[in-house]
Amino acid sequence: MKFQIPIGPQHPALKEPISLRMTVEGEIIRDADIRLGYNHRGVEKLAEERNWTQNIYLTERICGICSHSHTTCYVQGVEKLMELAPPRRGLYIRYLVGELERVHSHLLWLGVAGHEAGFDSFFMYVWRDREIVMDLLEMISGNRVHYAINAIGGVRRDIDDALTAKILEGIATLKKRSEYYLQLGANEPSFVARLAGVGKLPKERAIALCAVGPTTRASGVAIDVRKDDPYAVYDELDFKVATADTCDVLGRVVVRVLEVFESYKMIEQMLHSLPDGPVAVKAPRKAKPNEVVSRYEAPRGENIHYIKSNGSDKPERLKVRAPTLGNYPATVEMLKNGFIADIPLIFAAIDPCICCAERAVTLVNARNGEESITSFGDLRRRALAGHHNAPLKGNAVWPF
């Protein structure tokens, strides 16, 4: 018997609204479809109406986890448009925050993977240790999530020696803990049984479907913008691109944990060779008409911004492609012929950060399976009517 199960727009496995339609046969998924549009905020249109400075904070709010990657991608593009050269120290701090963000994002993901697999203890421990890096980011920037440390022409805050020592100390602890989690993740039988061989994405399909980030790297394709298109400080740093060739969720876990180790290495390198000098230069308010493509390796993969200026203090066009969108076609491929039980794991394995969409609700009539779409306004009206017609709560009978 074939039937469709709707995962989303509201579902405990999804932290943000997206709709996955699964056609299943028993416990096996035969077909998958992704519907977006539940969360569309019109960022690109909005950006055309704000000035260059305001847009930093707008792009920051594209994503709550990789907030720094969007601003960095935007800011390094705008700096090219304005022909600014940020001071070395500013750049080092900017990419230091970028790597710390990668650590926090990957640890967050590792915990979520544990949670999706029902391994809540693992999730609790990983997130407890993730607090170390969150606290470091808070000390550097003054905030835990939206660091707002980027400014056009550099960064907004400097770090001193005491903070440097604290970061090094935190990284040393995290290194130890990450090693433990790598050991644990590879040794706990029930966890490995859930991850190994799940969500296969062969190398040629990963390339054809233009997947990005750890998803592709776990299929043995070594693409990493930091290596391929080394921006700012990355050609001065010594790091490896972590890959795995198992093409499954376990491979994605391994790639991410290995990347965390590379990030620790890079953070130490950056802190040890932190140049002196100012952290920012003053930026003009306007940019000459030009266009620029800015690429950044976000924790989830390649982030690309296309920015076009028209000589005013506002961009003519800002095109944002967040890495998750690039991974959706590959996700559909991975879900096919998997188990229902693996949906959250496979979907979580691309580390989804759903930042494109809107409001509509699908009602499925349980008796005849008819689907109807209700708009938000209509739902609201229904809710209000239901509320008005409902008996007064004060008269409700207390159950005992």
């Binding site: 977006l36 549009g37 569309h40 019109g42 690109e44 249109k45 090219k80 390339i207 054809a208 479907l209 233009c210 997947a211 070594a222 693409i223 290596k227 391929d228 298109d229 030009n290 266009e291 620029v292 493509v293 690429r295 390649e302 690309i304 296309y306 076009k308 003519e316 066009r317 095109k319 492609r321 969108l325 690039g326 959706y328 076609p329 590959a330 494109c356 969409a357 809107e358 409001r359 509509a360 779409i373 708009s375």
Partner: protein, 157 residues
């Protein structure tokens, strides 16, 4: 292969088709082709130079025309294939048969600019809601969003 060598080769291979080749920065090559030559140009880039990775497709409303940029990348460099189509006849051929990963970007382009991608395998709307009124294309410059007046009990100030 350095950028200059690549540009040289592209110029030779796309002799009649490359309308303009710009090289503003390291690893950034902007190539302009006519809309008819788009598919063959992308196919050539994929097959001859290994540009298998499509980063995204950007659309820009330039008043009378739409400009579409296909951001292609290899591990060495990036090529941004640009084409311009008139607003009066906004049709462009789908590149999904060549690069399957392009499907979502093409659907997004259809939604946001109201151009039609010919022979796209899956033309359903992607990012706009189901009840979205037809003929509204948010990223066109003539589409203005009127922000509904914010109702805060007691007013804004």
């Amino acid at each position: 292969m350095t950028d200059d060598e690549l540009i040289e080769k592209i110029r030779k291979d796309l002799a009649g088709q490359a309308l303009e080749v710009l090289h503003p920065d390291r690893r950034r090559i902007f190539l302009k082709v006519a809309p008819e030559a788009l598919v063959s140009a992308v196919r050539l880039l994929r097959d001859a130079y290994g540009f298998t990775h499509l980063s995204t497709i950007s659309g820009v409303d330039k008043g009378e025309t739409f400009e579409i940029l296909y951001h292609l990348a290899t591990t060495d460099t990036t090529v941004h294939v640009r084409t311009e189509i008139p607003k009066s006849h906004p049709h462009v051929e789908s590149i999904t048969p060549i690069i399957p990963g392009a499907i979502l970007y093409e659907r997004e382009l259809q939604d946001m600019f109201g151009l039609s991608i010919d022979h796209i395998p899956d033309p359903r709307p992607l990012v706009l809601p189901d009840g979205w009124p037809a003929g509204n294309y948010p990223l066109r410059k003539d589409w203005k969003f009127e922000r509904p007046e914010e109702i805060i009990p007691g007013g804004k100030s």
